[in-house]
Symmetry: C2
Subunit: 500 residues, 2 copies
């Protein structure tokens, strides 16, 4: 390696160290910190993040990137070195193309925006948030202007979370989802509803914790390189390939919450734990995108965790832990209960069959806002009519409608579709995995997950951020991201559960 | 406030933020981090600490200190502003007077030194550590040369941990301690030994935890601004006046360990929690010195926690938690047991009556090493003869003798005496407190500690680092640090326990 490349690696490694400490400060705040520490922590995080930004955006790094790019002109473009520079250059551009003045103005606006959103939601009155959101949309358009034009202005926003993804691709995917999922939901609505009332009995927290740990352990989560804590909102964070931590939350009267969120976060954790060790302290560490990340969490949560084979193995143990709650609930009834489909108002409570519809609605509104074809003031009405159209339910107020998500208040336009893309990718991979491991169901039924995890490691995890999502999915499955496998999966699964 | 002072406060506040994050990274490593995270954490801490050093030693800070000093020339030298600058200037000099080359060489030497010390201790062979220790002593002499000469070269080392303290003062104090404590120990050795075998029964950890939390809560430890975790070595750390965390450890077959270490760390914690809120993110936050800090931890551990009135209140509860272990042990027997005096080889296991002797021995050897009047190779023999002289016991090997402490391996010469000074200060304050609160014993007997804590807050805690230890002790007690109160205390307490 050249002297310059070595120098660059040192500098970039130090930035990775500081980013890890930033993540540690946030993890601590969410899981350990006594409330008294909040004010000081705010200062600490602000100081560190400004210092990290300063260090990362130093002209020296830009110059070294240019120099090393020249040195690598003849290298294999798929080599780790070439990809290191490619990913780093993109990160560097993201960090440097946006003027400091814009960053400061946007931080101020979104701080206000978050406040007005919270007030608006509290009062269930969109008009309180309207002005800030309109400014946020304008500033997101300004953000787009700092980057070279793409096919669609929304592409630049999407690219932040789903590198390389195009608005047109996403629109095409969602058009197909709309057509088929709305149809499926209508059929389910006409069928006999399943019962899940037993999920809402009282489930003591300590036993929920134990069960979650047992499952995550069986999945292959390595407790020597991770840990689990409680937090208000479950999340996964990583300070190193060898220190990846997950959190969960408990609702004593809704056992599904911890049950599936633990599997979900374990899925995220397994991804980060499986990245090539050589990528530690480099830009190649981490997940390919939010969508690919979500494909991993949703796979373990839904394709594994809400499957019949999984519960054929684990249900006796769950019954043993909760004899009064589940002793009289058959495996079949339990399986149907945890897969109940019910159009609802709130995205975060949505099931597998309705979830994408919530995303589609948001995506359509975001694109329209950025195109300027929808005025911010018209959002509540549009929201409600789309809810009626896609899910057959109408929000009684703004709090349960257009104001439910925090994302827009911090300017996170472009984020939502990653959730749905994750669902699609998960099943695309799943079909491939079932070809590669023909007895996968039997293995799951036996509580064995090593072949599954091995496949994911080899075909997804190990690559970290080396490939963009579309490249990675193409390599792993032979095609780009497509909704067909997911639609097949939904139809098969729910036809059987609802006897369609 | 002038613009320059404001600018300086901003810069120094940012350094405080980074120091807090450094402390957080270390706390996490000791209490939460899975083992896999260790390597990455090493990089993170190294990067952050070098960045913090760079930021703090920037010439801009030195210039601003000079400018603000001039601005404050006519200000009250005891005002917070004047003290802010005085303490900051001292910290800045400590950080800048030592050449970077020296810092790097010393870091390398002590890394080796730590390794050779660990090996030497493992093999119980001082010769393995001898060469590195000799170099460490030479480099500590070199360190002294970077600062203006004081009365004694050891003063500069002492000053790092106990600002303003002189070698001559410490020697005078210890001469008096030697005379009286050796005499007391001889008398105790001739008396009938007390029984503490019941402390070595099996005590379940969860109940030890509960009792410790109950006691710390009664002391006034604020769980909204702190928390307790387990660690291999108990410690207290602080990321803010409002986020001060303690740790403890458990030995199931030695209940004293967690019992008194929890009170000890709670004492440190109460100190840091009591510092003036206005000192947050300034050089005035923290404790006056290691010795003053130790005076607080030892007060709660020993003067409160090993007193009869304390156990008159808490012993019934302890018996309730451990009925099989303590049901048949009377309060009187328990009180004697926890105050058993037994000359032993190991400092960290020493009781109140023997502890200072361990310190004295180390202090004498350190001063002699810095003076050059003792050769490093002669340390083991000297150690053993002093152990015999002061405590009447002779180490059977180097591991239980001269190699037992880690401090010299990282170059921490000047550190040890702070432990003994803490003992002395604690009783000096205690006598004053008993004058101010005549019914203190009755309050403790009733489990009430608010008047005690109030006095400590008002006379010690609130000042943070504003005053040097001798100033602070003078203000609080009317005299400088003196051994007489401690000697009176020992004599009264142990005469009664051992019927001397």
């Amino acid at each position: 390696m050249s002297e310059k490349f070595e120098k660059l690696k040192v500098l970039v490694g130090e930035v990775a160290d500081l980013n890890a400490l930033q993540a540690l400060a946030e993890w601590d705040q969410q899981t350990q910190m006594p409330p008294g520490g909040a004010e000081a922590r705010g200062h600490q995080v602000a100081t560190l993040s400004s210092l990290t930004h300063q260090k990362f955006t130093a002209p020296e790094i830009g110059e070294l990137i240019e120099d090393v790019k020249k040195e690598l002109a003849d290298a294999d473009p798929d080599s780790d070195d070439a990809r290191f520079i490619k990913v780093l250059e993109k990160d560097y551009n993201q960090a440097t193309k946006v003027p400091a003045d814009y960053v400061a103005r946007f931080a101020k606006l979104t701080a206000n925006g978050h406040e007005s959103w919270a007030k608006a939601r509290e009062a269930s009155d969109f008009s309180i948030f309207e002005k800030d959101l309109a400014e946020i949309v304008e500033m997101r358009k300004e953000f787009v202007s700092f980057f070279p034009p793409k096919d669609h202005p929304y592409d630049t926003l999407l690219d932040q979370f789903e590198p390389g993804m195009k608005t047109a691709d996403v629109q095409k995917i969602f058009a197909r989802l709309r057509e088929k999922q709305v149809e499926l939901l209508k059929a389910i609505a006409d069928a006999k509803q399943v019962d899940d009332s037993f999920m809402h009995l009282t489930y003591p927290e300590d036993k929920q914790w134990d069960f979650g740990v047992e499952v995550a352990t069986k999945f292959g989560y390595d407790w020597k390189r991770g840990r689990q804590d409680k937090s208000v909102h479950p999340f996964t964070t990583s300070f190193s390939v060898n220190d990846v931590r997950i959190t969960t939350r408990f609702m004593e009267d809704y056992v599904s919450s911890a049950l599936f969120s633990t599997m979900h976060e374990a899925g995220h954790g397994l991804y980060e734990l499986g990245v090539n060790q050589a990528y530690e302290r480099t830009p190649l560490n981490g997940g390919a995108s939010l969508g690919v990340h979500e494909s991993q969490s949703r796979m373990w949560e839904n394709l594994v965790g809400r499957s019949l084979p999984f519960w054929e193995h684990f249900y006796p143990r769950l019954q043993e832990l909760f004899p009064t709650q589940l002793g009289n609930v058959t495996l079949g009834a339990f399986y149907k209960g945890i897969n109940k489909v019910e159009p609802s108002l709130i995205r975060v409570e949505a099931d597998e069959a309705t979830y994408n519809m919530h995303i589609m609605l948001r995506l359509e509104l975001e694109i329209a806002m950025i195109e300027g074809s929808v005025a911010v003031k018209d959002l509540p009405a549009l929201w409600n009519s789309k809810m009626e159209e896609y899910l057959g339910v109408t929000p009684p107020n703004d709090a349960q409608g257009v104001l439910q998500d925090i994302h827009w208040s911090f300017g996170g336009l472009g984020y939502f579709s990653t959730y749905a893309l994750g669902n699609l990718i998960s099943v695309q991979l799943w079909e491939k995995i079932n070809e590669a491991i023909p007895d996968l169901n039997a293995q799951i039924r036996a509580g064995k997950f090593d072949a599954l995890l091995g496949w994911l490691r080899e075909n997804v995890h190990v690559y970290g951020r080396k490939y963009e999502p579309q490249e990675l999915v193409q390599m792993a499955t032979g095609s780009k991201i497509t909704p067909e496998p997911y639609l097949r999966y939904l139809e098969t699964k729910y036809s059987e559960i609802y006897g369609l």
